[in-house]
């Protein structure tokens, strides 16, 4: 059993075919085990027809490894990686809607924007929309600052992450398309790299 103390954030990266229903097939691998998905991003990858999932969960590594194998087992899944925060570069984007009147009069807008690396997306008479990109703590901080000034609405995107070690997927995909792919791209690669990168 995994205990609370060996749990940490893992970002699972999944390359898949673009197929209706696959999101559900992947999501139930987590919900079946009563594991919460902290954030989920699905979008087309750099390769046509291939989609990339970024799934953020808080779990122990042995559990994550098993989950990754179950995900990779799905027919339309090409490849799964899982990484700790140290292995990746990631960002989340946030939007903040605040009353223009309040923000223009009472808050030092310029300082606020500089301090939080934020930018203004829209300015209207009634409201202004700020945008900032960063880690969770950074986007959270701006909420704290804006909350006393009548923050109307807030939204944050899921985490998107780039794997530091990854050489991308272009070359791998060509191997997948072959009936007899080379040894280096498939299954047992995991055995060579051990704990570092998960792949089967």
């Amino acid at each position: 059993m995994s205990t609370e103390h060996n749990k940490q954030e893992f970002t699972i990266t999944v390359y898949t075919e673009n197929q209706i229903g696959l999101l559900n097939r992947i999501a139930i691998i987590f919900s079946r085990r009563k594991i919460n998905i902290e954030s989920l991003n699905v979008s087309p990858s750099e390769i046509e027809h291939i989609h990339r999932f970024n799934i953020l969960i808080h779990e122990a590594e042995d559990v994550v490894r098993k989950l990754a194998r179950q995900i990779e087992k799905q027919i339309e899944v090409l490849k799964v990686y899982y990484n700790t925060n140290e292995d990746i570069i990631w960002q989340e984007m946030a939007l903040y809607k605040v009353p223009t009147e309040e923000i223009a009069e009472k808050v030092l807008v310029e300082r606020l924007l500089r301090e939080h690396g934020a930018r203004v997306v829209v300015i209207r008479k009634d409201y202004t929309v700020f945008e900032t990109t960063g880690h969770r703590e950074e986007t959270d901080k701006l909420i704290e600052v804006l909350q006393p000034h009548g923050l109307i609405e807030f939204v944050r995107s899921a985490r998107v992450a780039i794997i530091k070690d990854s050489e991308g997927f272009n070359a791998k995909l060509r191997e997948f398309e072959r009936e007899e792919p080379g040894q280096d791209v498939i299954e047992n690669e995991y055995l060579d790299k051990g704990e570092k990168v998960f792949t089967m």
């Binding site: 559900n24 097939r25 179950q70 339309e76 899944v77 090409l78 009936e179 299954e187 047992n188 089967m200």
Partner: protein, 584 residues
């Protein structure tokens, strides 16, 4: 709409002056042509509104495709499972939308957990009605996602040939499993240019077999050759890989005692000198105890189910593990392996056999024999050879063995009789033990036996079923009546839901809570379905009754009244280690 068979269509096409490379057919006809191309000879199904175009098409295919009208879709899918399990081919099942499709769910879950290859076709409402709560509409794709290896909804007939090809490829390759195709009614009716059926043999995102890594085979062989007390655990993977011959060669060369999971039974004959018995909660004494004494475990095509391992943190901690499996997700899932040998055991076993030393583990094997003797003395002898009191389940199976000489296919349901059947039935041949292992589906037995008979028409098929499980799917007697499957039905009636009663006796202070089940007159019931039958309760009549059943031309129902409060032993109580197995 006028649906024509392929032959008529072909004639029409060839008679037209300009040559075409395609013919115009409906989605339904394309589906049936695809099934024929895949070698399907029997379909278990039940019609309904949303699958009517397919049924209209099959009307013209009666000479090529045998359709067995079951009495309930659950019966249909269990029959498909029985067919797949006895034949090694893909079972095909038809059902309509809505309730027809939801009735498949138990069978899909059963096939998924027991890795049974199935292609299920469900009808669906017209595509334009999807999501409108139309009559008999259910979200079949999402309902069945957790219990299928793959599923897909077809809304355009043009997709049917390629999707069907993909379905068969996925169902039977790698670790097999159930696949469901949901076809909207418009796609079934739609005419399109059919260019023939092309079987699928590659999907870029799907690797049915992991690549074999020779270095791990070498490492595994080294571990095995150095072992003093090696022990083989084998499961259904050997059967699914059709690797019985390769497995036998490995066992015989290495001389290592081998024990089976219930789905692995029959991979080598029960009486093989190195077959030391059954694993698990109600398995044999030696295999359970000695799991915790061996030094190297060689697991072949088995997945360390909790019913096999008992308490995991006390399971084979002293042993190194070589795990052969085709499914990478099974490696290290429950028990951490020392050397993972990923791949189809049909390929990996011969490589391993080549590298292992020829040995005889005489002393180690003798240890298993000692435990067998202890088990015979404490449990088996009195179970198989009682001289007084009511009949026991064990003696019924034992007599059946003698009469069938271990050549019959035994299909069991779920419960005490299942454990007794698996423990005591003799299996000379592979694919002769058909039972619901992972899901433990009561009601599996009767329909699965019907399917098993279609999958292996030359075999004697005996369905061993309890009085509880029989009442869950007894409507399939109607299928037997109508289509004449020669199935010998043996109800072991203890007038209890015996397994739950046993647990209530052992762990709930005999508080028998709703396990006392009454039954109709099963013999009369059979008679009303025009099936011959008999009830036996006396020891003196047992052999003659079994003989009558086996020699009867056609199906037969034998109700055997057995002792009410018998327990299945040995038993590894839940939460206990395999070495804490109880003999009483």
């Amino acid at each position: 709409m006028n649906i024509k068979t392929m032959e008529t269509l072909q004639k029409e096409v060839t008679s037209t002056p300009e040559t075409k490379t395609f013919i115009e057919v409906t989605g339904s006809v394309a589906l049936l042509e695809g099934l024929i191309a895949e070698g399907t000879d029997v379909i278990f199904g039940y019609p309904g509104g949303a699958i009517m175009p397919i049924y209209d098409a099959i009307y013209d295919y009666k000479d090529k495709l045998q359709h067995i009208l079951v009495r309930h879709e659950q019966g249909g899918i269990h029959a498909g499972q029985g067919y797949a399990r006895s034949s090694g081919k893909v079972g095909v099942v038809f059902a309509t939308s809505g309730p027809g499709a939801t009735n498949l769910v138990t069978g899909l879950a059963d096939a998924q957990i027991d890795s049974t290859p199935l292609v299920c076709i469900t009808g669906q409402v017209f595509a334009h009605l999807l999501g409108t709560d139309a009559f008999q509409e259910t979200d079949v794709i999402n309902i069945t996602t957790p219990v299928t290896k793959w599923n897909y909804q077809v809304t355009d007939a043009k997709e049917i040939p390629s999707v069907l090809a993909k379905a068969f490829y996925i169902a039977r390759t790698g670790r097999p499993g159930p696949v469901l195709i949901d076809i909207t009614k418009n796609a079934q009716m739609q005419l399109f240019n059919y260019e023939g059926y092309v079987p699928c043999n590659h999907i870029r995102s799907y690797r049915p077999k992991p690549n074999i890594r020779k270095e791990y085979i070498v490492e595994a062989a080294k571990l095995i050759n150095e072992a003093k007390k090696p022990f083989i655990l084998f499961g259904q993977g050997v059967l699914l890989g059709k690797a019985e011959k390769e497995f036998k060669a490995f066992v015989e060369k290495s001389g290592i005692p081998a024990a089976w999971t219930i789905l692995g039974a029959g991979a080598i004959p029960t009486d093989h000198e190195l077959n030391v018995g059954m694993l698990g909660m109600h398995g044999n004494y030696g295999p359970n105890v000695l799991t915790n004494e061996c030094d190297v475990l060689i697991a072949i095509g088995m997945r360390f189910d909790d019913r096999v391992t008992g308490r995991l943190d006390k399971y084979a901690k002293q042993a190194k593990l070589v795990h052969l499996d085709i499914d990478p997700a099974e490696i290290d899932k429950n028990v951490k392996s020392t050397v993972p040998v990923w791949g189809d055991c049909k390929d990996t076993l011969p490589l391993l056999t080549e590298l292992v030393d020829e040995k005889k583990h005489t002393d180690w094997l003798a240890k298993f024999r000692e435990y067998t003797k202890a088990e015979v003395d404490a449990v088996i002898h009195k179970e198989l050879n009682p001289t007084s009191g009511e009949l026991t389940m064990g003696e019924v199976i034992n007599q059946l063995n003698i009469l069938t000489k271990g050549e019959a296919i035994i299909v069991s349901d779920v419960g005490q009789h299942q454990m007794v059947a698996c423990r005591y039935a003799k299996f000379n041949n592979t694919r002769s033990n058909i039972t619901s292992g992972g899901l433990g589906t009561m009601g599996f037995g009767l329909p699965a036996a019907i399917g098993a008979k279609y999958g292996a028409p030359d075999k004697t098929v005996v369905a061993v079923i309890g009085d509880g499980g029989f009442q869950m799917t007894l409507q399939e007697l109607g299928t037997i009546m109508q289509f004449g499957a020669d199935v010998k039905i043996m109800i072991l009636n203890n007038r209890f839901l015996g397994m739950v009663r046993q647990w209530q006796e052992l762990f709930n202070q005999k508080r028998y809570s709703f396990v006392d089940i009454t039954s109709p007159d099963f013999v009369k019931l059979a008679e009303s379905y025009y099936i011959a039958g008999k009830r036996v309760s006396e020891r003196d009549d047992l052999v003659s009754s079994l003989n009558e059943m086996l020699n009867h031309k056609g199906s037969y129902l034998l109700e055997v009244m057995v002792t009410k409060e018998n327990n299945v032993f040995p038993m590894v109580p839940q939460g206990c280690s395999v070495s804490e197995i109880r003999l009483k």
